[in-house]
Symmetry: D3
Subunit: 128 residues, 6 copies
Amino acid sequence: MPDEQMYQTGMKIRKEIFGAETVDKRMSSMGEFGAPLQKLINQYAYGEIWGREALPRKMRSLLTLAMMAAANRPHELRIHLRGALSNGCTREEIREVLLQVAIYCGIPAALDAHNMALEIFAEQGQRP
Amino acid sequence: MPDEQMYQTGMKIRKEIFGAETVDKRMSSMGEFGAPLQKLINQYAYGEIWGREALPRKMRSLLTLAMMAAANRPHELRIHLRGALSNGCTREEIREVLLQVAIYCGIPAALDAHNMALEIFAEQGQRP
Amino acid sequence: MPDEQMYQTGMKIRKEIFGAETVDKRMSSMGEFGAPLQKLINQYAYGEIWGREALPRKMRSLLTLAMMAAANRPHELRIHLRGALSNGCTREEIREVLLQVAIYCGIPAALDAHNMALEIFAEQGQRP
Amino acid sequence: MPDEQMYQTGMKIRKEIFGAETVDKRMSSMGEFGAPLQKLINQYAYGEIWGREALPRKMRSLLTLAMMAAANRPHELRIHLRGALSNGCTREEIREVLLQVAIYCGIPAALDAHNMALEIFAEQGQRP
Amino acid sequence: MPDEQMYQTGMKIRKEIFGAETVDKRMSSMGEFGAPLQKLINQYAYGEIWGREALPRKMRSLLTLAMMAAANRPHELRIHLRGALSNGCTREEIREVLLQVAIYCGIPAALDAHNMALEIFAEQGQRP
Amino acid sequence: MPDEQMYQTGMKIRKEIFGAETVDKRMSSMGEFGAPLQKLINQYAYGEIWGREALPRKMRSLLTLAMMAAANRPHELRIHLRGALSNGCTREEIREVLLQVAIYCGIPAALDAHNMALEIFAEQGQRP
């Protein structure tokens, strides 16, 4: 398969999850400097991996939340909290993931992530 | 609820996942020194959290694999690879989790975890 | 012991350290979504662990500062810098902990933590 | 050698990289509380290590960027992005380091660092 | 470009660094289970990134050592210590990288890495 | 003060904690390659920091255990478990530190550290 095709497949998946406008804005905000990284994100992250069908997207979202809470990446965690809601994860499922984080990565990791989840829920017009 | 009850509930769940003999051995190997930690593991980790029904055990296993690969805890990762198989996760699902790790936590984290998964599969009489 | 009792014991300790108003505000700010995590925090973190008497609270504060600087959790580090002062740790003791961080976790971890300590001291009407 | 001499050597190197005014400001902002840490930074970090000639400063800058992206230290990463430019690293070389981060530490680490690099470039009157 | 071509380019680079036999052995040891990860390693890590010419391979090796020491990945660190020697890095340059690790990630990270470097040097018939 | 003096002070403290024979063996095992790192360890870690009297050695030991469990450095954790016993920390105090780790860094970090503590206690002819 031509790699351009995988890039397009990945970008399509990425836009389905986060919205075309958001993705276009993210890509253009990094300009030419960010083009090689955006290629990795579209072609590899969303094309090669998110495009695999052996695991539902909802599940990939929850795994990503767990890892980004564990690895302490607040910027990415916020992005994927929005993505998780868009992929059909419920607030209850997100909470369960974050409670699992408390056990395996410590309570502060879970507390930070709870606070971010509440921010994102509020941003989306939901009440805590 | 008396906390002793949550301890028993947790130990029961833990034994369903890992086998009674294994759990008894792990608990006794740490003796009196390890008793307070074992209380946390049984009552808190397995009772309070694994005992919550809003997420299936299979899902909790996959989340735990992702976090233990991310956080670089090989001892715990091996334990939960066995637990994941016991909770009904397939080798394909485990692989998908580890590929998601490659994107979000880097290829070396995924590679280490693949090697451990192959060890555990071999240990259980499965071929790579 | 009923787990409700350990929850109350933990919440009492937590309020002794951080003040009742602060703790009430933190708990209510997370609403119903945060209730299971708040249970973990009160019952396990403050009840089961901070409630153990084999180590003085002052000592638990200093250990927590070291771990939160090591694990790069600024939100929690700020909370426990306030807690450390409330538990009777001196500015000199806090500084010694952060110098120990420089050796074992690198200078940037210590530098970030020094900056946060200076913020918290200033907030409490102390001069750098 | 008297340790005061190594302190002066280190402070000189530090000021060559970041500018005398910036370094003086950083040192005085931490007051007497920060003096022992500033001794470590000047004498040990810049004197003992940056002062070694077996590796060019430009190379030490790129290594530091890679480690601070890996270890998730945004404050230090911003400081050393400025230092890297001052040490003669090009934007292209900085980008290559951050792409290497994507592979070995995951895409979110690289994405956070790209965003910080773009901030610093903009701050220095450069276009993305 | 067809992605198969990037895969072949990457595998060629990987074999130039680590030797064809070693790479073939690593790939086959993971069997069919490891094939998607090996695709990422060959196509993405070695093709897309190591294949970029804006940074010399020697430099990529030193960056990788710094990151793997920082991120605590001993298995990968050993592999890339061998790769660094094969890419023309000297023992002195490797030592400088590890001393830089001491400052930015703490002395234990540098000490672990020194011990691994000495192992790999010994393995290659070199004296400490 | 001449830096040689701080080096000697640090080496003296290091030998008081770990025994002269052990320290001599560790230093010589790294040969000339390890000499600059050993200078950092003796002069900075043990001279500049452990030599500060504002915190008792026993306390520095417990802080180091907490950080090395948090940062996942098993080699260093084993060394400092021995050092903690030598500095007069009791098994009960060590256990309290590791329980604090369970809350702030997750149960797997505490479990790994418990297992190492039991190893070191056994090595020293103590029963679990």
